[in-house]
Each structure stands twice: as structure tokens, then as C-alpha cells.
Symmetry: C2
Subunit: 319 residues, 2 copies
């Protein structure tokens, strides 16, 4: 299938228009696609045009898009689910992360969608088999899990259920490439998918080192943000170690595999984070940033992410 014939050529539907859904609307509209947005909450929908305008204006100010009005004009808001999905070949489902909410929606969609329509779920943890079983659309459903905000962080995890057709995954892969995202193919369902598993194991070790008094949360953060994270912002963990030994990854594995095995072995039986531990972590974070400063800092983070995105685009363009 050529890139001009991808799933979204005739437009896409976003169902569920919280932060994630609106982020997806920007991804697709930025790529030139028509986007129809539906959310059950009329109150929420009423706030969307202003939010969209703000995000597009921010993106323009970082040189990440041109013509924000034109992009914004591709997004329309629908009063009903039927209207949103009518004639559409790709639906990005981004409703609340709850099995019952998602299941009810998929049952509704089952009667509405055309024979070739595909539904990608933004589910960040629930596998799609928990809410897509036994429907006529089941073979055309999968997880397409973005990182927030998807218009700044390109990775999208594609996770099929056992009944998802392989060509469905291929088509969503093509669509994601076509709109400038970076799809990652996960062969089958697993807890936490891939991104949150990688994040989870690192967090578990960081929390354990803090609990045992080796390091403050600030110093653990600096170990990443002024250390490991610099390289990981443009090469992944395999390439990093491949370039860190004269003979490449094999050489590296032979040198350091034993150390890494010892590190996980000596951790022993994993325990939940205790209330007391959570309180200690919370106390350090609240010292660094009071709760009423979270919103400002989140906006700062998004500006920094925009700057990183612009930086990476410039670097890649010059290579």
C-alpha cells in the first residue's frame, strides 16, 4: 500500500477527547488528514477548540508547524458517535482507561463501522482482548498506545490481540509512519506492553536505591537527566551498548552481562512500595516542587519537549 493510500486518507475519527484524544487529533491534522472528534461530554467538547488553538500556537512558536489555522480547520467536532465514524476507515479510541467503559463503546461501534474499518485503542495498560472479544470488529481491533503528548513524542506501541489480523497491524503501522509517528511492533499482548515495562523496571530500581538510603530522588533523577538520558534521547539501549565496547554488543555483553545479572539477582523477592516509602519519596518531591507548582512545571516540561522535538528534527534534517 502506498503512503497516499493509507487508512487515514479519507479522514480519521477520534473517540474520547481528553488529553490523549486531543493530542491524536493534532497528530493527524498536522499530517494533513481530516479529523472528526467525538466525546460523550458536551462540556468537554466545548473546551476543545480553545485547547486545540493553544497547542497549535505553542507548536508554531517552536517552529514545529506552519499554518496553525489550516491545521485546526481540519478538526471538526461531531454530536454523535455515528456521525464521527461514518465512512471512516480508522478510529483512534481514547476513552477512559476502564474495561467496562471501553467494552460498552466497542459494542456500540460494532454495529456502526464499515467492514474495513480498524480501531486502534490508546489503552496504556489494558490489553485490547479484555474489551474486544467476540465482536464482528474484533479482528480489526488492536492497541495503538501513544506517549503523551503524541505530537511531541513519536513512539506508538502496536499490540495485537490473538484475534487481530496481521494485515490490520501492517495497515496501522503504515498509517502511523505516514503521519510522522514511530510505530513499535509488539508481537503479542503482555502486561504493561513494552514502554511501561522498561520504565517500570528502572523506577523499581531507583525506588529501591532511594529506600536503602544510597541516593536522594534528586540525585537519582540527575543520573538519568544529566547522564544516561542524554544518549537515550537519540539512541536506544541496544545501540548505546553496541557503541560502548570495541567489539560491539557481543563484546559488551561478555564484559558486563555478569554485573547486570548480579544486580538483579541481589534484589531478591520484589516487594510493594510501602506507604512509608511513598510518603518519603513524596516529601522529597514536594520539597523540590510544591503541589501547586505541578501545573506550571508540566507546561515547562511540554515546552522543553517541544524544544527537544525541534532540536531532533534539525539534527536529522542535517544528516
Amino acid at each position: 500500500m502506498s503512503r497516499t493510500e493509507h487508512l487515514g486518507s479519507t479522514g480519521v475519527a477520534i473517540v474520547g477527547a481528553g488529553l490523549v484524544g486531543l493530542g491524536w487529533a493534532i497528530v493527524f491534522a498536522r499530517a494533513g488528514l481530516k479529523v472528526r472528534v467525538f466525546d460523550r461530554s458536551k462540556e468537554l467538547v466545548a473546551t476543545l477548540p480553545a485547547k486545540l488553538e493553544q497547542s497549535l500556537s505553542d507548536l508554531e512558536s517552536f517552529g514545529l508547524i506552519e499554518a496553525p489555522q489550516e491545521i485546526g480547520s481540519r478538526v471538526s467536532y461531531c454530536d454523535t458517535l455515528e456521525e464521527a465514524v461514518d465512512g471512516i476507515r480508522y478510529v483512534q479510541e481514547s476513552v477512559l482507561e476502564r474495561v467496562d467503559v471501553k467494552r460498552a463503546l466497542y459494542e456500540q461501534l460494532d454495529g456502526m463501522l464499515g467492514q474495513n474499518t480498524i480501531v486502534g485503542s490508546s489503552s496504556s495498560g489494558i490489553p485490547s482482548s479484555d474489551f474486544t472479544e467476540g465482536l464482528s470488529i474484533s479482528p480489526r481491533c488492536l492497541v495503538a498506545h501513544p506517549v503523551n503528548p503524541p505530537y511531541l513524542v513519536p513512539v506508538v506501541e502496536l499490540v495485537p490481540a490473538s484475534w487481530t489480523l496481521p494485515e490490520v497491524v501492517d495497515q496501522v503501522d503504515d498509517l502511523m509512519h505516514a503521519v510522522g509517528q514511530h510505530p513499535v511492533r509488539v508481537a503479542r499482548e503482555l502486561r504493561g506492553f513494552v514502554l511501561n515495562r522498561l520504565q517500570g523496571v528502572l523506577l523499581r530500581e531507583a525506588w529501591a536505591l532511594f529506600e536503602e538510603g544510597y541516593c536522594s530522588t534528586a540525585d537519582l533523577d540527575a543520573t538519568i537527566s544529566k547522564g544516561l538520558g542524554l544518549r537515550w534521547s537519540f539512541i536506544g539501549p541496544f545501540e548505546t551498548i553496541d557503541l560502548n565496547a570495541p567489539g560491539g554488543v557481543r563484546d559488551y555483553a561478555n564484559r558486563l552481562g555478569g554485573l547486570y545479572l548480579d544486580i538483579v539477582r541481589e534484589r531478591g523477592e520484589p516487594q510493594p512500595w510501602s506507604e512509608e516509602l511513598i510518603a518519603r519519596v513524596d516529601a522529597e518531591r514536594r520539597d523540590a516542587l510544591p503541589l501547586d507548582g505541578l501545573q506550571d512545571r508540566t507546561e515547562w516540561r511540554d515546552r522543553r519537549l517541544m524544544a527537544v522535538a525541534a532540536h531532533k528534527r534539525d539534527m536529522e534534517a542535517s544528516e
Copy 2:
């Protein structure tokens, strides 16, 4: 102690001038300090002026330094260890990562150093207690572990032995701040220190996901380099999750702590990476990058790291 009176005010000595030692020389010289370099290998020392000039020229081309000649002129090469450390208050030891080699050097240094001289070891894994026991300088020895190259990646792990004086750690902390590095305080020795533990657990999970057929190494790399790594290049894992839940880190821990616990629990007993697994990882990497392309790619990585460093400096300057 004021910043103008830090340990390095009268110059520093670099002992062991491989990649790490030379990187340190640039860090200190860039900050305006006099640097004396010693290495047992005269052949190696003969190559250093050209390598230094090349690195400084690269840094200048990315706008990361001015006046490379002036910086380079602060670095001198000594014929003997005595000459290098004479009158010096801080020695950055960067010899081969082998206990016997390090021990022999520390025994030599023990008779040479002034009463207040401190020795930081670039050891990336061996705790300093393995090679500094029972010397008159023992209380003034610690690990100061950099990331390569230290003039682009600022984090330095400070790891005291049980006999290291607390004020010694404070003084090295001050010195590292004064020369633009970011010291991370590790309370006591542990296997892999902190940075390699965080890297190690993430690598273990990535290798396991590859082994089980969930993802290619390329897709696992993209999950970081086009996903998690973007934020981690300017905020660490604790701040990342603190900004990812409305109620901050406590809220996040209550929502996702259970998932992360399940992820590590279901991994079960850690196993070594088998020869067959290493061969499969190696095959994917060699497909992506032949062994004879490693050197070029490493140079590309260093240029990208320079660009990231310049980007971060600009961002921080504008805040």
C-alpha cells in the same frame, strides 16, 4: 569553602590518560584549571596533543567552547608520576579497570601525596575499598565515576569507601560543581554504583523482551530513543512520574505501583544471557550496523551528544 578556593585552584593531576583521562583533562582545562597528565605509556602520551586538539576543535565547532588553544595550553604532560602530582591537591585516577593495577598505583601515590591531597578514581565498577585499604591516603580516596565523554555528559558518581572522610566527599562535590560537572552523591559502596544499576535493570528487561520474541532490538531502541528518552534527557524518572499524575508522585505510585510490581514479579529467577541470545542480539545489531561501521557511528554519536549539550545549555540559559 568558596568556589574560588576549591581543590583544583592550584591545578589537578590526571593519572592514566586513556579516553577517560583525556576527557577529564578537557573538563578541568575548560574550567580554567591547570592540568598535569601522566601515563606510564610514552607511546600513548605522544598521541595525546593531537587527540586533545581534535576534541577541542570539535567542541568549538558546536559552540561549546571558545579559545581552544588557550584551553589546550593549560594541559601539560609529565614524564614521571612524581612530577604530575607534586603540590597538587586533587588527582583524578583513570588507570586500567583492574584491582592489581589500581592498587599498585595507590601504593605508589601513598608516599608521594601531600597531607591534604584527594584522589578520585574513575572506576566504573570496582569500589575504591578494593584498592585503597590501609594506606595513609585511604581517608582521602573515593570513586568519582564519570560517563564518557565527561566533557559532554556531566554526571559524576561520588562513592566513598567506609573510611573516606565526609569532608573529602564534600570537597570533591564542590570541585565537580566548580568545573561544570553534576556530582551525584552515593551514600556508600554498592555493586555497579547507581548509573550502571539503572542501566542494567533496563537492559535486562529489554533483553528479556527480545528473547521472548515480543520486540526487535530496533523497536526496543525506538521505545527509548523516540519515547521515554526524550523526557529523560532533561528530567529524571522521579520528576517524570511526578508530572504524570494530577496528585504528583504519590498519586502516580498508588495508580501504577501495582503494575510495576507485577512486572518484576513475573520475571522470576534471573538467568544469564545465553550464548545463543547474545548471538541473536548481535546478529540484529550487525544487520543494522556492520562491525566496521562502529567507529564512524561512535563519532556520529559524539557529534549528536555535542549537539544535545549545546541544546541543553541554550535551553537552560533562556530559563
